[in-house]
Symmetry: C2
Subunit: 76 residues, 2 copies
């Protein structure tokens, strides 16, 4: 389980430039208004860890609650 | 560095009930309005990892940018 956790942190790191670019592009097209892209990317990626590592919630429920959080966060 | 990362994940886990309670109490006193306390607690705690593990930013700058993000997130 500890090895799995390290894997997860590595995946987060790899996702960072990808998610940053998605946020930047959506910012540019005015779909969202975000002042600190780096901060939002960190919270979007790493913030999911507490949920993903929680084995009490089904994958389907995780997915829908994470999506709802993002709608709140970006005021969509 | 990998051991340090595991330590960090463990600290996050320990913070979960504490931060959940803070959010619940602020919700109760109407300081904030949050529908999914568990989700917000996860994003508040684990979301900081990407910033904290980034060694290019000074601790002072990390702190002020994380605070600004929280003000945005909770609409304060």
């Amino acid at each position: 389980i500890k090895f799995h956790n390290l894997l997860t942190l590595n995946v987060c790191e790899k996702l960072f430039p990808i998610v940053s670019e998605i946020i930047e592009r959506a910012n540019y097209t005015n779909e969202i208004q975000v002042n600190d892209v780096e901060m939002y990317a960190s919270f979007c990626i790493y913030g999911q860890l507490g949920i993903i590592l929680n084995t009490d919630i089904s994958i389907k429920e995780k997915s829908s609650r994470i999506k709802a959080f993002f709608r709140d966060l970006f005021r969509l």
